[in-house]
Amino acid sequence: MERLSISKFWRIRKLHYTLAYSKCKKCGYAFYPPKHVCPKCGSSDLEQRTPPREGKLISWTKLHEVPFYFEDQKPIYIGLVNLGEVNVMAQIVDVLSEDELREGAEMEMVFRRVKQDGTAGLIYYGMKFRPAHRSGSSKQGQ
């Protein structure tokens, strides 16, 4: 329906590229997405932090009724992932079988295309998650 905006993505590209979250210096509450004041104590004394690349799956769904821009990828998996101090909602990719999507399953962050405006418009990139396979090989670098 709408062309993808330049500025809407650009101004929060750091959040899209790193999932940088906020932590309240007053009460210690950590949250994503960032807000202007702490949702717990209302303080505006906040600092930005980078989450770890790995986390655990809280809950998920396989969405068939996808919105505009996601039709090429449907169905898509959407999940709530715990990343240390914060939870994030994200798309889950590279799912080989739904057995991998148990509560508590290890997930790792990956950089992917989120949506694109046809063949001529902008591409939005962002962070998604995939099941982490500890196949005896080296751990994921920070």
């Binding site: 329906m1 809407k8 929060i12 959040l15 899209h16 949250f31 994503y32 997405p33 949702p39 809280i58 809950s59 998920w60 769904t61 396989k62 969405l63 068939h64 009724e65 996808v66 919105p67 505009f68 821009y69 996601f70 039709e71 990828q73 169905p75 898509i76 959407i78 999940g79 709530l80 914060v86 939870n87 994030v88 909602m89 994200a90 798309q91 509560e103 989120v114 949506k115 939005y124 962002g126 998604k128």
Partner: protein, 384 residues
């Protein structure tokens, strides 16, 4: 200053490809007249609508409608609060009346969801989530409720099939409701084999695509509309908003805003919710029903779905819940739904025309919801 509903109008909910927003609004307002409501004393008009700007490219909808149906020059505004738009409009109307700014407020809920293809509908309903950090990744209202559903079912040890009890009940309840969108029985087999919308939620757990309009007149106790026209009294109303993002919620199986509303209700009206005769709740995507039932204290944490499976809340139970079919079968024209809910309960407490079966009750509670339990509202109506 006491506040009364002195008129209500309903139009059938469907995918009205041939009707505009103004057409639908005109229908429901005409229906007020058909049912004996008094339109000549209206001094304010509030339109409840959520998607006029996005899907019809039309803001200032209340002005457009006001001029179209003959209410020029009144105190006019549009209220948008997701699926709680209708309730919010009625609470606003009630405040206008209590403050003396108006005597008779015409509240029209109107919505069209059917003008575009499915992927656009899916995008539209995702606007009730955080646009840049949830909907950005392809989430929609359906996927959000689905995540809640999976979490609830797993935490309280239910099967996916257990969810089916609710839509089956809703479809039964709508069979004798003239304006309902889906008037046919459904079976467990049909529910569990319907297409997956967002696992574990299926088509038959989800609201249909609905266009519709409902309207009510909210009047001051000293308005010039005669006392005989009073259909119900708005005893109390409250609304609360809480976290939008699922990533910030400590418990996926609770709506904190509902707690605020319940507390306000109990304090402000000294009501025992368990003793209310009729409760009308926004049962979006089926999982909202047990969550709201538990949140209202009608059932213990985690037992809401069990109580539905055990046959509670049907016609004749105290409370009876969603006797007109809920968002599942009556339909869910989002911005208008709250007005439908209040109009239906008003009718059940007065002329009973909204449903074939006779329903008895003194008190009715309307619980409307916006987003994924982000906004909850409670409006308490009493028979006059």
């Amino acid at each position: 200053m006491r506040v009364f509903i002195t008129g209500y109008g309903l139009s059938k909910i469907s995918r009205w490809f041939g009707e505009t927003l103004e057409d639908l609004a005109f229908k429901s307002v005409k229906d007020i007249e058909n049912k004996g409501g008094e339109l000549r004393e209206i001094d304010a008009l509030i339109v409840a609508n959520s998607f006029g700007g996005i899907l019809q490219s039309q803001n200032l909808l209340s002005s457009l409608i006001a001029e179209d149906i003959g209410f020029s020059g009144k105190l006019t505004m549009t209220v948008e609060n997701g699926g709680a738009s209708g309730a919010s409009a009625i609470l606003t109307a009630s405040s206008l009346v209590k403050s003396g700014l108006a005597k008779n407020v015409l509240v029209i809920g109107v919505e069209k969801m059917s003008d575009y293809i499915g992927s656009v509908f899916n995008h539209s309903i995702s606007t009730f989530m955080n646009a840049e950090h949830e909907a950005f990744y392809g989430s929609t209202l359906a996927s959000g409720f689905a995540i809640l559903a999976r979490s609830y079912l797993s935490k309280y040890k239910y099967s996916e099939e257990d969810l089916g009890a609710w839509p089956i009940l809703m479809h039964e309840n709508a069979l004798d409701v003239p304006h309902a969108q889906l008037k046919f029985k459904i079976t467990e087999e049909q529910v569990n084999s319907s297409d997956i919308v967002s696992s574990p939620l299926r088509v038959l757990h989800s609201p249909p695509v609905s266009d519709g309009s409902a309207a009510v007149i909210v009047s001051a106790e000293d308005s010039s509309i005669p006392k005989e026209k009073r259909l119900a009294e708005i005893k109390f109303g409250y609304l609360s908003s809480h976290l939008m993002e699922l990533s910030l919620r400590e418990n996926l199986e609770e709506f904190y805003a509902l707690k605020c509303v319940k507390d306000a209700l109990e304090k402000g009206s000294s009501i025992d919710i368990k003793k209310v005769d009729l409760i009308e709740i926004s049962d979006d995507y089926t999982i909202s029903a047990p969550i709201i039932i538990e949140g209202l204290g009608l059932s213990d944490k985690g037992s809401g779905l069990r109580s539905i499976l055990d046959g509670r809340y049907r016609l004749g139970d105290k409370p009876s819940i969603n006797v007109t079919g809920g968002t599942k079968s009556r339909g869910h024209p989002f911005g208008a739904t709250g007005v439908y809910q209040v109009a239906e309960v008003t009718s059940l407490l007065s002329d009973g025309k909204v449903k074939g079966a006779r329903v008895n009750g003194e008190l009715g509670l309307v619980v409307s919801m916006g987003g994924i339990g982000t906004v909850l509202s409670g409006i308490l109506l009493e028979k006059v």
